[in-house]
């Protein structure tokens, strides 16, 4: 194996339980987003666009679809002779199966994967967020600061700060304090869960942490506080731009709706920073003579005979005559019958919505359409 300057480790084992039935059979990074993508397309495309060609993807929860989606990485141009994408599931040793119990333990158990590339730096990513970021610039910053660890951070609304890992820094952006989900945050600079470690620091501290039976083996809770205690050089890398955690039904819906907003910073049409994905190869979308399409994002393979208003439609969706889809996200290959009304909802992949169905929220909640709902537990919707 050739030596690599920087290797990325993408934590993609998340269960995403707040996405309810969307992640019943699917790891969170594989959840569909933006009319054609899956969440993991964003960090993988960022790697490809940042010139990082060696990426270990750590999977654990419901990995089947995720593994086959990633394949050998050709969709992201990451099928390389040397490096490329490697899917890293937990594995068994002579005495026991070692499940990934925390973010740090997942990396620790794959130190041998990293060692074969003799990296100088390791980039730790998560597969839970929608954003475009140049990791190469962050690496340059890390080198310039002669940092041991660099953590990227973003300004979040004060009201939400207690949901995040909050960093306090000095004027030089050196991190002085790191609080994981503080009840009373001292500022609103949140960790994006993106770390660059200098290799020796990462290796030493992961090995030390693995021996500590009291540790929860988590970067935010264990590794970062220990490094701060020992006065290591941790720097904050301020990120400006679109970044969204799509961990809940509401935030997933919001992030999709953001794509219909002209003010939104996330530009999917920028050819200099393309978001790659596995292309489904379907015919162009067909908009019938009766159809009405207003301010929407529609993918190939769709057949539209009804009205689409402020919605995001994935590939292969069909919408029958007289149906109205408003402010909704319709995932791949869903079949919407005739005279259906759907408002403020997420319709999952392959769902079949019978003729005349009405799905509408009575409060401001976003409805996640489920099989139970459609099989008549809520006849009121029909």
């Amino acid at each position: 194996m050739g030596k690599k300057k920087c290797v990325a480790m993408l934590l993609a084992g998340g269960k995403g339980s707040r996405l309810n039935s969307l992640t019943k059979d699917l790891a969170k990074p594989a959840v569909p987003f933006g009319g054609k993508y899956r969440i993991i397309d964003f960090p993988l495309s960022n790697c490809a666009n940042s010139g990082i060609d060696t990426v270990g993807v750590l999977t654990q929860y419901q990995p089947l679809l995720l593994n086959s989606y990633i394949g050998i990485g050709s969709a992201w141009d990451l099928d390389r002779k040397d490096g490329g994408v490697t899917v890293l599931p937990p594995y068994a040793e002579t005495s026991e199966v070692k499940w990934y119990t925390g973010t740090a333990s997942a990396i620790y158990q794959n130190l041998n994967y990293l060692k074969q590339y003799q990296p100088e730096y390791v980039l730790i990513l998560s597969g839970d967020h929608i954003y475009k970021m140049n990791y190469e610039s962050m690496l340059e910053y890390h080198i310039e600061k002669r940092a041991d660890v660099t953590i990227s951070l973003i300004e979040v609304p004060w009201a939400e700060a207690s949901r995040f890992g909050i960093m306090n820094t000095n004027e030089d952006l050196r991190i002085t304090e790191f609080e994981e989900k503080p009840a009373e945050p001292k500022n609103n600079l949140a960790s994006m869960g993106i770390y660059i470690f200098s290799w020796n620091i990462l290796k030493d501290y992961l090995e030390m942490d693995a021996r500590n039976s009291k540790s929860s083996h988590d970067f935010g809770k264990d590794i970062i506080p220990t490094l701060l205690d020992e006065n290591k050089k941790l720097y904050a890398y301020p990120f400006k731009g679109y970044w969204k955690d799509v961990g809940t039904v509401k935030s997933l819906w919001e992030a999709n709706m953001d794509l219909l907003n002209d003010e939104c910073d996330l530009d999917l049409f920028d050819h200099d920073w393309r978001i790659y994905s596995v292309n489904p190869n379907q015919p162009p979308q067909y908009i019938s003579p009766e159809a009405i399409v207003k301010e929407s994002l529609i993918n190939e393979g769709c057949t539209i005979e009804g009205e689409i208003d402020n919605s995001v439609l994935f590939q292969g969706v069909s919408v029958g005559k007289g149906s109205i889809i408003k402010e909704s996200v319709i995932m791949p290959d869903a079949v919407i019958g005739e005279n259906v009304k759907i408002e403020k909802a997420i319709v999952p992949s392959d769902a079949v919505i019978p003729d005349g169905t009405v799905i509408r929220s009575f409060d401001d909640e976003i409805i996640l359409v489920t099989e139970e709902m459609l099989s008549g537990i809520y006849p009121a919707f029909k």
Partner: protein, 343 residues
């Protein structure tokens, strides 16, 4: 099937009536239906029918065709054994409208010697159809015929021939003695002892040979009875994939009866048209009965009726361009149309 049938696509054809669209590309690479090239139809049909070895014989201006086909990966033809083969012809002055010219094949006779497939299917590159060749092979094998020619249901020859590879090799080797220059010569001659059969194909098929027929065939796709015969989930038409985002419909846009590929930004109004990948349509622009190819930019308040815009055309704000159904207005690739250059 994969071990039995070899696909041979003759991509040397040139039609004078399509000249305006063929100045930069070969007929096989003519964009069609918003995201395809014409050759995608026959090539995908071959792959969907289980053919794993396909030889393409192009001629002249094959840069865009090679760029499109690449290693054959999008058709799953990047195989260790068999796969996609590309044989640009060294024959300069042969009749370019002959399908399956033996002179072209002769230059690559070694390929036919080396192929292990017992049968060869020789086709043209310009037919828009979705056909399963497996029943044809089955039929041919049981018929005991030496050569089977495919006819469309209305009696039109489709310029596709199924023949034993060994017989094809013999026909190529003896071309100077027999005087046969292509498959058509053989099937039209009654002086030989080969049995010639007709296989009738009753599905949708259109052969593209003029601007008018390209235009009407394209707009006919908007008829759902037609596109449902062409775009079948189980037998997809495969093409080179591009990483374009979904198409975005912005405020003020109206779209009716249209086929639209990915990566478009639509502000204006589109009616009865085919819009290819990555097209931008400005505010107040009206696009009616048009075929707009890849990456065209139509600025605000333009009016286009019965127009074909080739790739990368820019139409400046306020321009009016009109043609007719029989004589669409064609704008050549990469050009700019200004408001003062009205047709």
């Amino acid at each position: 099937m994969q071990r039995k049938l070899l696909g041979v696509i003759d991509a040397t054809t040139y039609h004078d009536d399509l000249e305006e669209l063929l100045t930069h590309r070969s007929l096989a690479a003519l964009p069609f239906a918003g995201r395809y090239r014409i050759i995608d139809f026959v090539l995908s049909n071959m792959v969907n029918s289980g053919i794993q070895s396909v030889a393409i014989f192009p001629k002249m201006m094959y840069r865009s065709l090679m760029d499109h086909l690449g290693s054959g990966k999008n058709w799953d033809l990047n195989r260790k054994r068999d796969g996609l083969f590309f044989f640009p012809t060294p024959v300069v002055d042969s009749d370019i409208n002959k399908i399956g010219s033996f002179e072209n094949f002769a230059a690559n006779l070694d390929f036919f010697y080396r192929s292990s497939q017992e049968y060869s299917l020789i086709t043209n590159c310009y037919t828009v159809f979705n056909m399963d060749f497996a029943p044809l092979l089955e039929w041919h094998m049981h018929s005991g015929c030496d050569i089977t020619e495919i006819f469309h249901e209305n009696g039109t020859p489709m310029k596709m021939y199924l023949v034993k590879t060994s017989l094809l090799v013999k026909l190529i080797e003896t071309r100077n003695e027999t005087g046969y220059t292509c498959m058509k010569d053989v099937v039209l001659d009654s002086e030989h002892f080969y049995s010639i059969c007709r296989y009738e194909y009753s599905g949708y098929a259109e052969m593209i040979n003029s601007i008018q027929n390209y235009f009407s065939t394209s707009l006919n796709l908007l008829n759902s009875d037609v596109w449902k015969q062409l775009f079948i989930k189980e037998h997809p038409i495969l093409t080179k994939v591009k990483d374009e985002p979904p198409t975005r419909y912005l405020k003020g846009s109206t779209v009716q009866n249209a086929m639209i590929a990915n990566g478009c930004l639509i502000n204006g109004s589109v009616e009865n048209s085919i819009i290819s990948r990555g097209v931008k349509i400005g505010k107040g622009a009206v696009i009616k009965n048009c075929i707009i190819m890849q990456k065209c930019v139509i600025e605000d308040n333009c009016y286009l009726d019965s127009v074909i815009l080739d790739k990368d055309v820019k139409v400046e704000a306020g321009t009016i361009l009109t043609g007719t159904a029989r004589d669409p207005y064609v704008v050549r690739k990469g050009t700019k149309q200004g408001a003062l250059m009205k047709s």
